[in-house]
């Protein structure tokens, strides 16, 4: 299912399990989001921004290198070419227009890799709204270029110092700030959190597959791809890339999680394989937890995938068998990122590199059409890549 039921459930996953302090906020958003999203002037303004400001449609690029190596025709959906360098801007622009129409005057967000933080800071600058971005201390260090970009854009970056000091904790801090400042608009960065966020973000990211519906036939002469591949942190780029294909059973949906140092290593973020059903950030979904329901701190080299849950839509797609899930370890992702840089001249984000690295594990037929969502560019990860290559030694 593309969209949840009225209570925000995709099968048994989803819902809005928030403390009473946030009930009015979530209820207001639930009551308004579909109506505002459907307004002609909202859509017109959003489409205009996506086009003239963010640079959409993002190209579909045929990769000769990947096709020769892994078989069939492999295309990259170039979300890395969007303004600010990732798919996150699609969501940030949509939600900030929504916030403005709801009369909100302050924006808050969480970020892992910093791409959502940069996208939100950008959208807030554009709209002239003050913006606070919560980011785990560990992520601030490993994604330092994005911290600098957010500050340059006028946002305040607030360090989350609790727990594992990564995306989960940044989200906790954003939610706590929201409880204390209920007038703020919480611009969540992935298909996670209480209903209606998963559906709201999925609808705003759906532009990715909406474009594919035209681009795939134009490039390949066939109406549908055989496989669509995307990485999953919370799952927003995957939700966007899958969205218009979910009800097309012939299209294989392939979700790639971060294996970290290996699924069995105790240092992993492969949520759907290591997780079980529970509640995280207001949503019932699959999450990594111990026997007492304590959330386990995940690990991945990629800050954007270093999250112990997945969006409820993906929990449903995966557990119903509609999507297949793979996990890719740090070193596989790094190697795939280096290979794409060296052979195609495209430096992918570490998150996106996880999606690329799954290609050798797939059963690709010679006449298959495969689309990989290249969710973002890798400038923010240069230091990590260079360390891996020992180029700075």
């Amino acid at each position: 299912m593309k969209n949840p039921d009225e209570q925000g459930f995709y099968g048994e996953y989803g819902g809005a399990f928030v403390p009473e302090m946030l009930y009015p906020n979530v209820a207001e958003l639930q009551a308004k989001y579909l109506e505002i999203l459907a307004q002609a002037d909202f859509q017109q303004e959003l489409q205009q921004l996506l086009h003239a400001y963010a640079g959409r449609p993002s190209p579909l690029y045929y990769s000769g290198y990947l096709s020769a190596k892994y078989g069939g025709k492999i295309y990259l959906k170039r979300e890395d070419l969007n303004h600010t360098g990732a798919h996150k801007i699609n969501n940030a622009l949509g939600q900030i227009l929504l916030a403005a129409r709801m009369g909100k005057q302050e924006i808050i967000a969480e970020t892992g890799a910093g791409q959502h933080g940069v996208a939100t800071a950008t959208a807030a600058a554009l709209m002239g709204m003050p913006c606070k971005v919560f980011m785990g201390e560990v992520d601030m260090a490993r994604q330092a270029p994005n911290v600098a970009r957010m500050r340059m854009l006028g946002a305040e970056v607030v360090a989350a110092t609790s727990g594992s000091r990564t995306l989960k904790d940044a989200t906790n801090e954003a939610i706590r700030y929201w409880i204390n400042n209920p007038e703020a608009y919480y611009l969540i960065g992935s298909v996670v959190g209480p209903h209606p966020y998963p559906d709201l973000v999925a609808r705003l990211q759906a532009v990715i597959s909406a474009e594919l519906l035209e681009q795939v036939p134009a490039h390949s002469g066939r109406p549908l791809p055989d496989k669509v591949v995307a990485c999953i942190g919370g799952g927003s780029n995957a939700a966007g890339a899958f969205y218009h294909y979910i009800e097309q059973p012939d299209v294989q949906l392939i979700a790639v999680e971060a294996g970290g140092k290996g699924i069995a290593s105790g240092q992993s973020a492969a949520t759907s394989q290591l997780g079980s059903i529970g509640i995280i950030h207001g949503s019932r979904t699959l999450l990594m937890q111990d026997a007492d329901g304590q959330i386990i701190e995940p690990y991945s080299i990629s800050a954007g995938l270093d999250y112990p849950g997945i969006g409820p839509m993906h929990a449903h797609l995966i557990s119903s068998g509609r999507a297949q899930v793979y996990s890719i370890n740090d070193d596989q992702a790094l190697a795939a990122g280096v290979a794409l840089s060296r052979h195609e001249g495209i430096l992918p984000a570490l998150e996106s590199a996880h999606a690329l690295a799954v290609l050798p594990e797939l059963d690709i037929h010679p006449d298959d059409i495969t689309v990989v969502c290249l969710s973002g560019r890798g400038d923010k990860d240069l230091q990590t890549y260079l360390d891996y290559l020992h180029i700075n030694d």
């Binding site: 399990f17 302090m21 727990g163 204390n180 329901g293």
Partner: protein, 259 residues
């Protein structure tokens, strides 16, 4: 009527409910603290089940939870400790925790453990009233567990009435739009107007005020509008240097003192 309600109704006013985190500052502090509170005249306590991601809690309770988990606290140990506290002190015990802790154990098993160890009721901030009503009300009743729902300055009249109807312990009046542990010296006029508005609604459930209660002035003010109040973060701050029975006795005496 649940035991908890009966107790609160029989006391009527000036009820001091002290919150502390199980397993903090040391794993076996839970029982020591409970004994001292009982000795100081406290009759109702709220014991926090430490959680990794306590969304409604500020830094003080977060840190106490992290420490408790590092100390090895878990639900099996907690239920053992609660059982001992109940047997030794007869305190009324409310557990406060997050929905995932109950789900993970299995709702029924969790509630059964609560009953068997002598827990009187639960506070689960992220359990929505509607979900309780449609899925859990009967089960809570079966295991004699009283639930207490939160209301805030932004809760609609309709939802306040719902919280009143569904709560089988007390209505937990959250003093401000905030997470726990906010530090102020006095309630603001805006807060007092809100307390008065709730008092004037004449709810059928008893009402206790919590979040940010840290001085005798807060406690007295709260007692003008409600049956009592809950002191959490400020009590936990008293424990950071270790459990000192004289300090606990003085704290309880001081909070409850007459002007």
């Amino acid at each position: 009527m649940t035991d908890l309600q009966q107790f609160i109704q029989s006391k009527k006013e000036g009820i001091l409910n002290i919150f502390f985190t199980a397993g903090y500052p040391h794993l076996d502090s839970t029982l020591v603290i409970a004994r001292q509170l009982a000795a100081a005249g406290v009759e109702l306590v709220e014991i926090g089940m430490p959680y990794s991601d306590p969304l409604a809690d500020g830094a003080t309770i977060q840190q106490s939870s992290e420490q408790a988990l590092r100390n090895g606290m878990n639900l099996a140990i907690l239920f053992e400790q609660v059982k001992q506290i109940k047997e030794e002190t007869g305190l009324r015990i409310v557990l406060m925790g997050y929905l995932n802790q109950m789900l993970r154990m299995g709702e029924e098993r969790f509630l059964q453990n609560c009953r068997d160890s002598g827990v009187d009721g639960l506070i689960i901030p992220d359990l929505p009233m509607e979900v309780y009503q449609s899925q859990y009300q009967e089960l809570f009743g079966r295991y004699q567990q009283a639930i207490s729902f939160l209301i805030t300055p932004r809760t609609s009249v309709e939802r306040i009435r719902l919280a009143d109807r569904l709560s089988s312990g007390f209505v937990y009046l959250v003093a401000d739009n905030s997470i726990t542990g906010k530090i102020t010296d006095d309630f603001s006029p805006r807060q007092e107007a809100y307390f008065k508005r709730i008092r004037d609604m004449q709810l059928t459930s008893p009402v206790l005020i919590g979040f940010g209660i840290r001085t005798a002035r807060h406690f007295r003010a709260a007692c003008r509008f409600a049956q009592g109040a809950i002191v959490g973060s400020e009590f936990i701050r008293q424990l950071s240097g270790g459990v000192d029975d004289e300090k606990i006795r003085r704290f309880v005496k001081n909070i409850g003192r007459k002007p």
